[in-house]
Amino acid sequence: MKFLRWILFAFCLVTALRPAGAAAETVYVHSRIAPLMAGPGLGYRRIGELRLGDMLEADRLESGWYHVVLKGANGWVSRLMVKEFPPAGAVKIGRKDKERLARHARIRPSSLASTAAARGLRAERNRSNLRLRTDYEALEKMEGYRVTPRQARSFVMKGTQDVAGN
């Protein structure tokens, strides 16, 4: 029957069109460090360390871990550490960004203002104003306690060594 032939033809065409290897996906490491394991889980041997931005070809997903290939080597990386797009840079408001901010700021404030107005923002909240208090002095103090990733790294290493040493 002609109609059936059409259905069959459609299926064949659609199947033929499916590009080979469509299942392999490119993923990128989104953490500063991501352990590369010998198997799909943290119990396996740690065979390497991936870095922020590393591009990987993932061909399999097993219990939350991607099997990936990188520079010829392969292993498993946690699905939680990678995403399908490259990571955005760390927050540094450089000149370029400022320019971009300014440019967008020209485009949209009016639309935002009208959106906010249209939403009928409550002008006053009858909630106690206690919550409105801010303490930027304390915040700056807190920011002073920040550590660099390098310091954090050596702290983690030291902890690991301590355990190993015990």
């Binding site: 109609f3 059409w6 299926f11 065409l13 069109l17």
Partner: protein
């Protein structure tokens, strides 16, 4: 009827097919296999449950379509030299075919859309010479036919969908249905011996109704989605006005059609009739089952199977559509679709007269979409071809081969925010 060439009434609006215009940008270029996808505003039309799966909180889409269709009735007329002539009708329409917007609202997603699932502007202007007639020794010296039909269906209305679970959604659309049709047909035959036959027919029809649709989408796992819809159009009020002006000096004696005696012995006689009626013919129930397979974030295939119930005058009709979408780059999508658009009329019998034409159409679509961060632009092209049979001449057993060729160009834009 005394004459050899009078149009069979059947087949002047395309009521014989269910897929006359592919609605929506992505949907259209996937051949309309969208019941399991439906995750953008055109979901309001294909499966309202799908809009609950839309990736953006708000989304609008619009589409313009240029459609050209040529219908040919092969060898419909024979001239005195024995040559056979085709009848050819053309239709072209340029129209905004879809506009829709969806937005998160309450627990679900609210949609509002406008769609034109059927639009025809049919033209035929042909003249034939020395055509055989059934008056012995008196062929038709000149036969002129002039057809000017337009027939559009508009849908407009709200949709709402909710996700009952992460992988299950239900939705409904309530379209207001409006169909506006105008038919103008003029035929003049002049016989070699001086007589003439002239008929002018004018018809307008407006139908108002409601077209509710219920839909469901279920994703049994990450890779699969299944969709199901049921829809029916209820025509609540219809107005049909028909006018005929008729003169026939070729008849040797008065004759009777449908109880009216036509007597042209006075050469000044013209018959004029006008009638208004209020038909309300519902359209049959349609059920659609769709499946799509998300092979990867870059590739998917989808398929729809639709069933239109039988009612008086229409046969139960099955159609199938299949589509595939592939992203060669992150911001570019290529789509192809295949679909059937089969006639809801019975196959023609060699023993009956004035039968409706039966043409099964099969089409293919191809589309390209380009995305930027919040908008998308797509271009699509569709081609469909149908072969079948018709009985174009009134009261005649002769069956003509008929073909339809449709070319469609889509231009669509989407914006998410």
């Amino acid at each position: 009827m005394l004459l050899g060439a009078s149009l069979n009434d059947a087949g002047w609006a395309d009521d014989q097919h269910y897929v006359n215009v592919l609605v929506g940008n992505r949907a259209g270029t996937l051949g309309g296999a969208y019941t399991a996808l439906a995750d953008d505003p055109s979901g309001c039309y294909y499966n309202p449950a799908g809009i609950a799966f839309a990736p953006y909180r708000s989304f609008s889409a619009s589409m313009n379509v240029f459609q050209r269709s040529v219908k040919t009735y092969e060898q419909a007329l024979a001239d005195t030299g024995g040559n056979l002539h085709d009848w050819q009708q053309e239709s072209s329409a340029l129209l905004p075919n879809f506009f829709g917007v969806i937005k998160n609202s309450g627990k679900g997603v609210l949609g509002l859309s406008y769609a034109v699932p059927d639009a025809i502007n049919r033209r035929q202007r042909q003249s034939f010479h020395s055509i055989r007639s059934n008056l012995p020794g008196n062929p038709v010296e000149n036969f002129t036919i002039d057809i000017n039909d337009s027939d559009r269906t508009f849908l407009f209305g709200p949709s709402y969908a909710v996700r009952l679970k992460d992988n299950l959604s239900l939705g409904g659309t309530l379209y207001v249905y409006y169909r506006d049709r105008e038919v103008v047909r003029n035929q003049l035959l002049r016989f070699e011996q001086g007589q003439h036959y002239w008929i002018n027919y004018y018809e307008t029809r407006q139908d108002w109704g409601l077209r509710p649709m219920l839909g469901m989408i279920w994703e049994p796992d990450e890779k699969w989605a299944l969709g199901l819809t049921a829809t029916k159009t209820f025509v609540t009020s219809g107005k049909l006005k028909q006018q005929t002006t008729f003169r026939d000096s070729s008849a040797a004696a008065p004759y009777v059609i449908d109880g009216i005696t036509y007597d042209f012995s006075d050469t000044d006689t013209i018959y004029f009739s006008s009638a208004t009626s209020h038909p309300t013919d519902d359209l049959p129930l349609r059920l659609t089952l769709g499946a799509s397979y998300f092979a990867s974030p870059r590739f998917l295939v989808c398929m729809d199977l639709s069933f239109n119930q039988a009612d008086d005058g229409r046969e139960a009709t099955w159609n199938v559509a299949a589509g595939a979408e592939y992203y060669p780059a992150d911001a570019i999508a290529l789509r192809i679709g295949l679909y059937s658009d089969r006639a809801n009329t019975p196959a023609l019998s060699s023993k009956a007269v004035n039968q409706q034409e039966h043409i099964d159409i099969y089409g293919a679509t191809l589309g390209l979409a380009v995305f930027s961060q919040q908008s998308s632009l797509s271009l699509g092209i569709g081609y469909a071809k149908g072969d079948g049979e018709a009985q174009i001449v009134a009261d005649s057993l002769t069956i003509q081969d008929a073909t339809i060729e449709n070319l469609t160009i889509f231009l669509a834009a989407g914006y998410s925010f």
